[in-house]
Symmetry: C2
Subunit: 353 residues, 2 copies
């Protein structure tokens, strides 16, 4: 077996903390036995839970801290009160010091991004980080990557290009592709539409032919269609798209449930059709697509959904495991290098200016 | 009966043209007998269709033109080739000259917006127009208004405030409300998130107490929840949200259909539960919420969905009818006046700067 992937877990993150994180880690370990864990958090809460998971207990240790970032802490508050002491910070610090290969937290996104950016800093050549999401799609593979989910509001053309490179690097690992397809989110192909940043990024990406296949502009409905492997946009619209999609899926489910409840006939029909509904739920369940990967930092940090169950948390850990095992950071660096050569080309300089 | 609402119809707009527009107008007339119509387009195509609709034939006339804007024309192309001659331009011109109270087109959005803006111009005190959408929601009323859908990419704080005023004026008519609730679309309430324009608009709207109730920031999932009557955002994120929601609804339906087709049991279940599916479809069908109202221009122009059926086109005409009957433009002007007084107040000046 290869050298284990060392995983630092913020045991106090999320709505529930250790009672999800510990069994989640146990599931992740079963799927990837080449893993070792450190739990950061309240030892009194973590240790008893490990008794039920002997395999996990054998490959983990606990680093105790009483300080936990709360889900409603503001990022500045979290940094002020939790720097160097909180379970979230300590997990990130393990990545910084090289003791761990990845950090995973279900804690509050703003605080996690603030701490990770302050402590790990952005990679050489990357100005701003991004948060990626794995999105259920209608494409044969059933999944796509969308970024940024809100780390960089109003990204400029160069930052969007960085996001394309980073998203493609992630897609290579997650989907096992040599050259993933990449699209820029826009509001239509008509002239006068679209913003300068998006057009500037398109001008650069059209010249960028080695690392991934640039497919041009895509629109909001292309995300769920799965038109491309990676959809790139700045953080405001990405976050709006994510929340709108979640809201719409919930809306459809709610309306259907209400309508089904109206008669015995429809209720019976639902019982018979239940396998289809279960399959739908499974396909759309955020727990199956858990894990926002922070991209562009000197280290791998994964944000698990705050409301994760153990399965969902395990999915986030597995995603991080693969990012480390198949060397996300090296893939991003290689992609950025291609782009650096490109930036020096005068033709592209003209296209951006 | 009060004076009829005079409706100018671009008979050549949309994927199908007169074969949808004429029967659509006939349906709209049955619902609102206080209507009169002018069809702009190819008389040879329109006149025979009217023979099937005698009531409509009695209250309409045809203005012939051979020029039609195509669905894939660029706005600049449409303006160059169709100015003063196309069915789309002539319908807008009827509003401009006062011959019609509203214009309705299922033609291409970019061309319609370009022609309407060039010809009608923005209202006094409004810098930029917006396109509003009526959105199916889970709120008791089942509908909300969202704007802008792509007319003004990257609206600034003042423009967002104008959109709030215009959306509220529309909500008063569509939902019959005295003081609709309004929210600003944002990516979370945490600090460091959100853009300056949104924060600036929020600072102004917090002081704006007469015309509508400002409820603060909302997120993408609040649109379908129906947290507020009117959701305000700039055109890029609004368009992304709309297309993402459409894509997600289609994705859920597609996955469910595929899963239901897998066995006889689930197929039978579907047959029994069909009334619930029909109700869902009806509730989410864009044809029932048809009509993007162009807001902020000196005249009422309604964009019907390009793929409308007659029912859908009729819904867009009815929406326009109400906008004219209940005097949208006067309501917007009144709302803007409140805001003008506010702009002069020094406290708010400080809040924006």
């Amino acid at each position: 077996m290869s050298k284990p992937v060392r995983i630092a877990l913020d045991a106090m993150g999320g709505d529930i903390g250790p009672s999800v994180v510990v069994p989640g880690a146990a599931i992740a370990l079963r799927r990837n036995p080449d893993s070792a864990f450190v739990f950061y958090g309240d030892e009194r809460a973590i240790a008893p839970l490990l008794d039920e998971h002997s395999a996990l207990k054998a490959v983990c240790r606990i680093v105790h801290t009483d300080v936990a970032v709360r889900m409603d802490d503001k990022p500045s508050q979290a940094l002020r009160q939790g720097r160097k002491t909180s379970s979230m910070w300590l997990a990130i610090d393990a990545v910084k010091s090289g003791e761990a290969d990845i950090a995973v937290s279900a804690g509050n996104t703003g605080a996690l991004m603030a701490m990770a950016t302050v402590h790990l800093k952005t990679m050489a050549g990357v100005e701003r980080p991004a948060i990626s999401a794995i999105w259920p799609t209608l494409a044969a593979r059933g999944r796509g990557i969308v970024l940024d989910m809100g780390a960089t509001i109003g990204a400029d053309a160069r930052q969007l290009v960085d996001f394309a490179v980073m998203g493609a690097a992630m897609a290579k690992i997650v989907f096992g592709l040599d050259r993933p397809t990449v699209g820029l989110l826009n509001v239509g192909v008509e002239e006068m539409k679209g913003v300068e940043q998006v057009k500037g990024a398109a001008a650069i990406l059209r010249e960028h032919g080695e690392d991934f296949i640039y497919r041009g502009f895509v629109e909001g409905n292309d995300i769920s269609k799965g038109t491309v492997d990676v959809v790139v946009t700045e953080g405001f619209s990405g976050n709006i798209a994510l929340k709108t999609a979640e809201g719409t899926a919930r809306q459809v489910a709610t309306v259907l449930r209400e309508e089904i409840g109206r008669s015995w006939r429809t209720k019976l029909g639902y019982l018979l059709a239940k396998p289809a509904f279960n399959a739908l739920r499974k396909q759309m369940d955020p727990n199956n697509y858990n894990g926002g990967v922070f991209l562009g930092l000197n280290g791998i940090v994964i944000k698990a959904h705050g409301g994760s169950n153990p399965e969902g948390f395990a999915a986030a850990v597995e995603l991080g495991h693969d990012m480390a095992r198949y060397d996300l950071l090296a893939k991003i660096s290689a992609g950025l290098a291609t782009y650096d050569r490109l930036k020096e080309a005068p033709a592209v300089g003209a296209a951006i200016s």
